[in-house]
């Protein structure tokens, strides 16, 4: 059984017990425990079920690489799935539940899959669910969706807070082991601004477990001394529980700091995402031990040798009473020695190598541990837990020589440097055959803006597995990074480490070497995603030879641990199956983040009101207090309609339309884009921007203008007013102001930079209110001020003056077809002006109207709307706007494009009005049906609806649409598809439904 040992564990505080629950069971741990160590201390070996076969699984590792120990953490608003037990620190009241089983962890019905595993090989889903085709949607997919996924999505709103930090540093050092500390010391002494981050809660990494000497001190003492020295340096920042998540272009890096995961009641944000710009980055990210591939290596109780050692040394937890160590290298002997010294039984060290020599082997022998050379494990015995191992000859096919009883197996297949961060931004790797590992190639580092490498890797992450090398390599990396960042102050000497002498590793990718298919199909590579040696071999056999293809076919390395344990073993098996060298097969791509980071940390404070800034007009506050039902228009919120008590939206819209037509309506048009274009060449410039002539517009007049892209497609429209000899005011659509401003700047800065023109976006400087309806003039006369008579201010003219006490610029323009004044006042006067209009308008039946009434009234008049009648493929000719295309101008944006053959083709879909035979409203976007089918067997179409409304004025549905040769087909009836499958018949009519002669707007 796994249990707590008395008086051991360097990281736990046995004076401070904490209680927590796992699957409802109340358990006890100590401050300093991880959830993994606390569970093991309570003999809770089984922690979850595997993804595909639902096999019982226990903890394998002791750090971020853990594939099995994923639990649901917390309840309600703090619930979070897929939390690793090995990186979760226990706290009083922690609640955890296991995942991926039903009805319980101990008895899981899904485990039937393990007996069906012969029928569920790699690519099973792809092969099985192809036929019959109709089964996918209704049978296969619902079942697969139900069984897929680890953990459950949280249901409640996250109550915690999160934040971003921006940091600019000379040297970012990722990893607080001895190499990272040495790097920080060297860089800090040289005067560089340093940020040193460590993902765990402790400095020193593995060295403090394995206790080598550095500078004549035990590793722990050197670590303490060094951290103290670093803390005293003003130019060095140290952060624990802060993981280097990713390295990106030009020295950008993300770090993920978990501030209160271990003390959930503490104040402040839970996670902090560091957005770092570093001149140089040192990756001292250490190495991860590899599992060995033997049959039933996934049983609870089979752990990495280093993890077994960590649990004893760090937490005083023995995973088993009798531990068999199986290895192909000397390092695992440290585990046997540590266990023996802790008073535990080590029945045997099973070493695949036939010859071994070194200090650690001598020590193990001296402790009386039996060493079996040239041997391997044929299979692990047990059900939900290890009960023993069957030994075989490593060179053979798995004939059992002997069985040994044990309750823990500590395996080591060698070490793989953590090259993730090195690789994220393009750092390349070399295969080191002697050490059987991929290690960074310093000649091919990720390059920055200056073309030079900006990442230096150090320590075990650089393939230096021994203390002496690792600590001096870290120091050299820190010095080099500081120098590259321009810091050359003199510093101290490199630390000196002292190691036990170790013999060479012998790569073992399969145990035993000639394992039968039966053994291979129980030899796990990827524990979380249930990928076995036999699956990768099958993928290779079926032609998935590229490592990236084999990964996707088998799902090797695709789980939440992203193959930290499985990748190298998997690609070694793949390369063997392909009879290729490992470096020729290569690795899959390492992508950030290194381990999953919370979605909330990515969002930071950007939620609720801070998610996106909302733009408000001077009238917004009044609108929101008076029934506004808002809709988003770009970053604005515009009232769709102003609801009165007891009204629904539809009723409000109809009331607003009728009132504007019969009495007096007010529209807050402040969101319309307003661009001032000024300068000696402004007229010439606008002649290029607009399809019609703007340079000839007389001062004081307004003209409706169209803008096209160079492609000829309609991009924006609006009324242009000439302010003075050299100044024009261009109105754009609400959503187009910034875009059109940028578009104008683009042409001015990059094409006609010798033209003297300035453009200024004054959209927010003015409140603009449309006063609309037969009573519009009356209310303005009542307010007094400037002459707004038809004679003084005719249609399509503008004038400056006073309306009441307000500084007004009045445009006689109409988007509704009614008598209409659009009046701009300085934004600061906007709210008061709106109030004054409401008050003065009371006797004339004033009502504000929203965007839907605006849309209906413009559609009744047959006015187009950018984004409804246009979609980026529509040219002015399609909308019968040829009159706005100047024939006098030699050039304007879009002119050349309009003569391209397809654009000039008369056979296009063109704008018409549509009236249904029964008066109902056509569905928006509905297609008009044509005879026959196209080459894909789909029904042909001959047009589509672009705008469709119920018209309160005409008391029936009206629509606009683009119909093939539409204007030549007036009176013809065509059929439109409905969403429910039926059709609607509609007659092609003139798109102007209301006041065709324009008498009402021109009075």
């Amino acid at each position: 059984m796994s249990t707590r040992l008395a008086n051991q564990g360097r990281l736990i505080n046995t004076d401070k017990a904490v209680s927590f629950t796992f699957n409802g069971r109340h358990l006890r741990g100590f401050e300093g425990d991880t959830l993994a160590s606390a569970l093991l201390a309570n003999d809770q070996m089984l922690v979850g079920r595997s993804f595909k076969y639902h096999r019982p699984r226990g903890v394998v590792a002791s750090g971020a690489e853990e594939p099995n120990g994923l639990v649901n953490l917390g309840k309600g608003a703090t619930f979070e799935p897929n939390q690793r037990v090995t990186t979760t620190e226990v706290f009083e009241g922690l609640t955890a539940t296991s995942q991926n089983h039903w009805p319980s962890l101990e008895f899981d019905v899904g485990a039937i899959n393990t007996h069906l595993s012969r029928f569920l090989p790699a690519g099973f889903y792809y092969k099985m669910f192809m036929y019959p085709r109709s089964f996918w949607k209704h049978v296969y997919e619902p079942i697969i969706r139900k069984s897929a996924g680890l953990g459950k999505a949280p249901k409640d709103r996250d109550q915690d807070t999160y934040e971003h930090f921006h940091a600019h540093v000379d040297v970012l050092i990722v990893g607080g082991g001895i190499a990272g500390l040495a790097a920080a010391l060297a860089a800090g002494e040289r005067g560089a601004r340093v940020l040193l981050i460590e993902q765990t809660a402790h400095w020193g990494g593995r060295a403090v477990v394995d206790t080598p000497e550095i500078d004549g001190m035990p590793a722990q003492e050197w670590v303490n001394t060094t951290v103290q020295a670093l803390e005293s340096m003003k130019n060095v920042d140290l952060r624990l529980r802060c993981m280097g998540a990713g390295v990106y272009d030009h020295g950008y890096a993300l770090a993920y700091e978990r501030l209160t995961d271990h003390q959930p009641d503490a104040d402040g944000p839970r996670h902090r995402l560091w957005r770092v710009r570093a001149t140089q980055i040192v990756t001292a990210t250490g190495a991860i031990e590899r599992p060995l591939s033997f049959a039933a290596n996934d049983l609870p109780g089979v752990l990495l040798a280093s993890a077994v050692r960590d649990y004893v040394v760090n937490f005083g937890v023995s995973v088993g009473d009798r531990t068999v160590v199986v290895t192909n290298n000397d390092d695992a002997y440290r585990t046997a020695i540590a266990l023996k010294k802790a008073g535990l039984d080590v029945p045997a060290i099973v070493d695949a190598r036939s010859e071994v020599e070194g200090d650690l082997i001598d020590q193990a022998r001296a402790l009386g541990i039996r060493i079996e050379l040239g041997k391997g494990i044929a299979k692990v015995k047990g059900g939900k837990r290890v009960t023993g191992v069957a030994l075989c000859s490593q060179a053979g096919q798995g004939a059992v020589l002997e069985e040994i009883e044990c309750d823990c197996v500590a395996m080591s297949g060698g070490w793989s440097p953590v090259v993730h961060l090195w690789s994220h931004c393009g750092g390349k790797l070399n295969w080191d055959a002697d050490q059987a590992m991929f290690r960074p190639d310093p000649e091919r580092a990720p390059t920055g803006a200056d073309g030079e490498g900006f990442v230096i890797t150090a320590g075990t992450a650089n393939g230096h597995l021994f203390t002496a090398e690792a600590v001096s390599d870290g120091w050299a990396a820190g010095r080099a990074a500081a120098k590259a960042a321009g810091h050359n102050k003199r510093g101290g000497q490199a630390p000196m480490g002292l190691d036990a002498a170790e013999g060479p590793i012998s790569p073992v990718w399969l145990m035993p070497q000639g394992a039968s298919h039966a053994l291979r199909s129980k030899a796990w590579l990827d524990f979380q995603n249930d990928v076995k040696v036999s699956d990768v071999q099958l993928a290779a056999q079926e032609g998935f030879e590229s490592v990236e293809h084999a990964k996707r076919y088998t799902t090797l390395g695709m789980a939440t641990d992203q193959g930290k344990l499985s990748n190298i073993n998997g690609l070694a098996i793949l390369s063997q199956s392909l009879s290729a060298d490992i470096p020729n097969v290569g690795t899959t791509t390492f992508r950030p983040p290194y381990t999953p980071i919370s979605m909330a940390s990515i969002a930071g404070v950007a939620r609720d009101a801070l998610f996106q800034p909302i733009r408000k007009t001077p009238v917004s506050d009044w609108a929101n207090a008076n029934g506004a039902d808002n809709e988003p228009v770009g970053q604005w919120r515009r009232p769709y309609a102003y609801l009165r008590p007891g009204e629904d939206v539809h009723q409000a819209v109809n009331r607003e339309v009728k009132n504007a037509r019969d009495n007096l309506g007010l529209l807050d048009a402040s969101t319309l884009g307003k661009l001032i274009v000024k300068g000696p060449d402004a007229g010439r410039f606008l002649d290029m921007m607009y399809t019609n002539m703007m340079s000839t517009l007389p001062v004081g007049k307004c003209r409706y203008g169209l803008m096209c892209t160079e492609n000829g497609f309609l991009m924006d429209d609006g009324v242009v007013a000439r302010m003075s000899e050299d100044t024009w005011l261009c109105h754009t659509t609400t959503g187009g102001a910034e875009r059109i401003h940028g578009h104008m700047e683009d042409w001015l800065q990059c094409e006609w930079w010798d033209w003297n023109v300035y453009v200024a976006n004054v959209t927010e400087q003015y409140a603009q209110i449309a006063v609309v309806g037969p009573n519009a003039r009356k209310v303005l006369r009542k307010l007094g001020g400037m002459d707004v008579s038809a004679e003084a201010l005719p249609f399509m003219q503008w004038a400056d003056g006073k309306i009441g006490e307000f500084d007004a610029r009045v445009f006689r323009i109409s988007f509704s077809g009614e008598l209409s004044y659009e009046i701009a006042v300085p934004a600061g006067q906007g709210a008061a002006f709106w109030d004054a209009l409401l008050e003065a308008g009371a006797e004339f039946g004033v009502m504000p109207y929203g965007t839907e009434a605006l849309h209906i009234m413009r559609a009744e008049k047959g006015f187009i709307m950018i984004g409804d009648e246009t979609d980026g493929t529509v040219i002015p000719q399609d909308l019968n706007l040829q009159w706005a295309l100047s024939k006098k101008k030699e050039d304007y944006l879009g002119k050349r494009a309009h003569s391209r053959s397809h654009m000039a083709d008369p056979n296009r879909w063109k704008l018409v009005g549509l009236l249904t035979e029964d008066g109902s409203v056509l569905p928006d976007g509905a297609y008009a049906i044509a005879d026959g089918k196209n080459e894909n067997g789909q029904g042909n179409t001959q047009g589509r609806v672009t705008s469709t409304y119920y018209s309160p004025t005409l008391e029936k549905g009206i629509a606009m649409g683009l119909v093939h040769n539409g204007p030549d087909r007036m009176g013809e009836v065509i059929e439109f598809n409905k969403v429910d499958g039926g059709t609607l018949r509609a007659k092609i009519v003139d798109p102007v439904f209301y006041d065709k002669e324009g008498e009402k707007q021109n009075v």
Binding site: D249, A449, D450, G451, E745, D746, Q749, C750, E890
Partner: protein, 109 residues
Amino acid sequence: MLTLRCPYCGVDADETDLHGEGQAHLKREGPGSSDEDFEDYLFMRENPKGVHFERWRHAYGCGKYFHAARCTNTLQVFGTYSAQTLEPPQDIKDKISDARPGWSWGTFK
């Protein structure tokens, strides 16, 4: 995430402050141009793995458009320069020649 120095305001701008605006040094074709030339101008773009000339806008800064010469493969930036020019400045071309001997891009080399 790239950083590019805006040649107008001198700020080392993060990519989030910038807006990519496509290929630099396009020659506008207007009315009277052949269909082939106009098609080239509208649609045909360089897509090199290596030296490239791009337009960027310091959208959340000074608002100016500028040109950048960089390597799309290694992300090395050879320089940024005014958009108000028909070809890259000689010092930037020299810098590219040092780093990528024998380079060419469109009609530049």
